[in-house]
Amino acid sequence: MTKEEIQSLYKDKILPENKAPYHFEKVDADHSVKAYNPMCGDKYELYFENDDQLLDQVHFHGIGCAISKASTSILVRRIEGMTEEEAEEYCKKFLEAINSSDPDSLSDEDLKILVELKNFEGRVDCIKLSWEALYDFLKNKTS
């Protein structure tokens, strides 16, 4: 990715999400999932209420780079209202798309951008951090 491409991605998508992240606050919740990257120190906690296996209200809080924060914010916004199974499937599809670099398998524009950002050298862990943590949590819960 060229510097100009990176700048425009940041300007259009990452920075707005980073400056006004969705449901960015600590809350008392039924469940919480920690997403932590010990290599760089990025650390988030995802909180959710679930009524009848439905992810009713999802919040998150923590510290990390603009990309991990934007990615977590998009995740939180998207899974709110899904069932646990739906959210698990959703995370799985996204992680598959990113591992195979196939943004076209996703319909959501925001997610496509995240997958494209994978080409931003060395930052793929930042994008995947919260998705992987949530996916592992939900998978272990159902199995």
């Binding site: 060229t2 120190g41 780079c65 603009a66």
Partner: protein, 421 residues
């Protein structure tokens, strides 16, 4: 035109924007800068670049000298053995050790520290004893002691820093006592660049008969570390931070402890006699080198030592300290940039924070301008927790860097801060 440029970016996986910039006279000896003349490599604390002499020595070994050492009764093997042992002597001379038998080869600083923890201290550490480390330590010189202390019911004591990031020496003097069985500190902090007064640290420990291990990973490339003068008990460093190869390091053990270093790994090449019932071992350093050694690594390390020996280190130190001063001034002149600590005794390593911008984002954007820095915790989590900073951007200098690169760093940071706001 633009499309062509993009194609070029795709063809080469590493691409930096082209700057017209003159290589300094040291950097011409480093092939990587011929490949990327525009690269401002400011990540020297992670690993230095390698001069041609080192790369050539390793190549030459594999092309025309390759054989395993010690066991072959033929010319190539004998020659490899001779070269391997000549390297040991060269390392001994380099740090002023009294003999080559004080020098053991390891995989690096990390392994050297673990050897001393497991093969020396483990058998003499008891409940009620203590180990003294500093809050500045790299995990490599922290976790091995922490684990050992836990296992033995001993106490881990941690020397604090003052507001500048220098070690609090009065506090240190209070921490060392008759029950101190090891003092382990780094010479230069890989995160703040603090230069510790190791002569004083060693002298204080020795008044209580406590042995001292110095982690010289960050200092060995340019700072004198004379064993006879400083009288450290153990010294550890890595080849890859002194212009040498990856995967090779050194453990120096002082004469009085030579017989107390037991084997670390078990295997071939380190035994006196093996029977079904038991095995007896040779002494340090051979008892450390179980299995086939990293012979090419040792040859490359020797070349790195020779490379350093032919430099005018006093001259380079004064140039580096000028560059460091320049870097400090430029960093402090940028609104929104904060140097997290500026120790009074300081080398060319800076940890900075950029207002509102996470270190990873800073490093990614600097990368796009051809500037290589590191972002994160730098394997010093206790230190960052202590100073209350989640992560930093680290800039670390070497003699092949120059002021024009620091100017570019400044311009790039200003542009980023502007872009972000």
């Amino acid at each position: 035109m633009r499309n062509n440029a993009i194609v070029l970016f795709v063809v080469s996986s590493v691409s930096y924007p082209k700057y017209r910039f003159k290589l300094n006279s040291y950097s011409t000896q480093f092939p990587v800068f011929e490949e990327y003349p525009e690269l401002a490599y400011l990540d020297n604390a992670a690993t230095t670049q390698r001069p041609k002499a080192v790369i050539d020595a390793i190549n030459k070994f594999y092309i025309s000298e390759n054989a395993n050492i010690h066991r072959g009764i033929y010319d190539l093997s004998n020659q490899a053995t001779t070269k391997y042992e000549a390297a040991r002597q060269a390392v001994a001379d380099f740090i002023g050790a009294s003999s080559a038998s004080n020098i053991g080869f390891t995989k690096g600083t990390t392994e050297s520290v673990n050897v001393v923890a497991q093969s020396f201290l483990s058998k003499r550490l008891n409940q009620g004893d203590n180990i003294v480390v500093s809050i500045l330590e790299h995990h490599a010189n922290f976790i091995p002691w922490q684990m050992l202390a836990k296992e033995k019911g001993a106490e881990l004591r941690v020397i604090p820093i003052d507001e500048h990031g220098d070690l609090n020496m009065p506090a240190y003097k209070e921490l060392v006592d008759q029950n101190t069985k090891m003092v382990a500190v780094n010479h230069i902090s890989n995160t703040l660049g603090t230069i510790n007064d190791i002569a004083e640290i060693i002298a204080v420990a020795h008044t209580k008969d406590a042995p001292v291990m110095i982690d010289a990973a960050q200092s060995v490339s340019m700072y004198p570390l004379d064993a006879q003068y400083l009288k450290y008990d153990f010294l550890a460093f890595s080849g890859h931070k002194m212009y040498g190869p990856f995967g090779i390091g050194v453990l120096y053990v002082a004469d009085q402890h030579l017989s107390e270093i037991g084997p670390y790994n078990y295997g071939g090449g380190m035994i006196k006699e093996v029977t079904i019932e038991e095995t007896t071992f040779v002494k340090f350093p051979k008892n450390l080198e179980a299995g086939t050694s990293n012979v090419a690594g040792v040859i490359g390390l020797h070349a790195a030592v020779e490379y350093i020996n032919q430099l005018d280190r006093a001259q380079i130190q004064s140039e580096l300290s000028e560059l460091s001063q320049y870097t400090e001034e430029l960093l402090q002149s940028i609104p929104g940039v904060k140097v997290v600590r500026l120790p009074k005794h300081h080398s060319g390593i800076f940890s900075i924070e950029v207002e509102d911008i996470h270190p990873h984002d800073v490093a990614s954007f600097l990368n796009k301008d051809g500037i290589a820095v590191r972002a994160g915790m730098h394997c010093t989590q206790p230190l960052l927790t202590d100073i209350g900073v989640p992560a930093t951007v680290r800039i670390s200098l070497a003699h092949y860097n120059d002021k024009s690169q620091i100017d570019r760093l400044k311009a790039s940071l200003i542009e980023l801060i502007d872009f972000w706001s």
